[in-house]
Symmetry: C2
Subunit: 208 residues, 2 copies
């Protein structure tokens, strides 16, 4: 199946991507639940009916955007957590990595933060699923760490969830300070690092 190298399929995916890009742009100052199908096709310069060739509805489009925004992010988890030496060094790298990702893909980050609790159920579900996958990956990584000896599975899951939530909080904080004075961005990074450090301290003394 899909053994077609064709020009046909290529062009189709091109307009599909154009629809997704246009939608992401329009979602800068509105929620998915108010995004109109005509609005999107108009921005791309295509007939409204063409939309149906790619998506059943704007909710469907939203689910595809979740995959695009979070699906390709999983490799980052391992590289963030594995090269451990100095703890403060790792925290600094993690914060930098998040800041870099937000700067590189602000629209994606905004979309996820906004629609995580947004008004479109299938999209909420898709995000929840992806974040659960992240948490599971973090948990697995934590389990290999030497400092996790004696931790119950529930405790590991708890910590993994805390890290994932913290990652999202930090990302949306950076998003808010994207076009803010340099000083404010620096303070945001400092706060994020401090919070991660406190979690790290709690982690070290958990088994007392």
């Amino acid at each position: 199946m899909s053994h077609t190298p064709g020009v046909r399929q290529a062009q189709k995916q091109k307009t599909r991507q154009a629809l997704m890009d246009a939608a992401l742009g329009l979602l800068e100052d509105q929620s998915l639940s108010s995004l109109g199908l005509r609005e999107v096709t108009r921005a791309v310069g295509v007939a409204p009916t063409a939309f149906y060739r790619h998506f059943r509805s704007t909710a469907d489009l939203g689910v595809a955007l979740v995959e695009e925004a979070l699906g390709s992010l999983h490799p980052m988890i391992r590289t963030t957590m594995s090269p451990v030496e100095d703890d403060d060094e790792r925290i600094a790298r993690a914060v930098e990595l998040i800041a870099g990702h937000v700067a590189a893909h602000p629209a994606h980050v905004r979309f996820v933060a906004r629609e995580r609790h947004g008004g479109v159920q299938p999209v909420r579900e898709a995000i929840r699923e992806q974040l659960a996958r992240f948490a599971e990956e973090v948990r697995a990584e934590l389990a290999t760490d030497a400092s996790a000896a004696g931790w119950s599975d529930a405790d590991l899951r708890m910590l993994a969830g805390l890290y994932v939530d913290q990652m999202l909080i930090t990302a949306s904080l950076f998003l808010e300070t994207l076009d803010a004075p340099r000083e404010e961005r620096r303070r945001a990074a400092a706060t994020a690092a401090r919070q991660l450090r406190l979690i790290g301290v709690g982690r070290r003394h958990w088994l007392d």
Copy 2:
């Protein structure tokens, strides 16, 4: 000014409240940015134009909802944090208090969680402002605590922010499990308590 005990003003506030209640109900499965003014008036059983007697726009309605949802919540802060004796006891009480609030006002909690990063700028701003007030109140309360000796102001603010974010995360977690099996709700509460305990541990060993 407003020395009117009148029946007039009373009736006005009554329909104003009806508009806000109806809006809150309609926002159960959509975002504020897609909420139509006519939709709200229709739910109340009033002419569309009557809306303008109370609100400039649905965004304006949203800001009023923020006040209603968060404004009356400030007294809770002090009572949550002051009667300290046993730490685990305090955590249990805090989690119970959040769970109770979510059960009593699910629509308000959903609204705040959804619109905190939602598509309507003035509403985001209003929520940010209220949460900043919460964080400041928590910081002030933390500063009076004996265990905060030697903490820098930035550290206190960091911890206060962490607590506020955690409160919101916990609330929205409870919201998701509102009509879920009893067992799942119990696990959610356990996880929330565990996370608060880890933050507490980190807090106790912060100055090492």
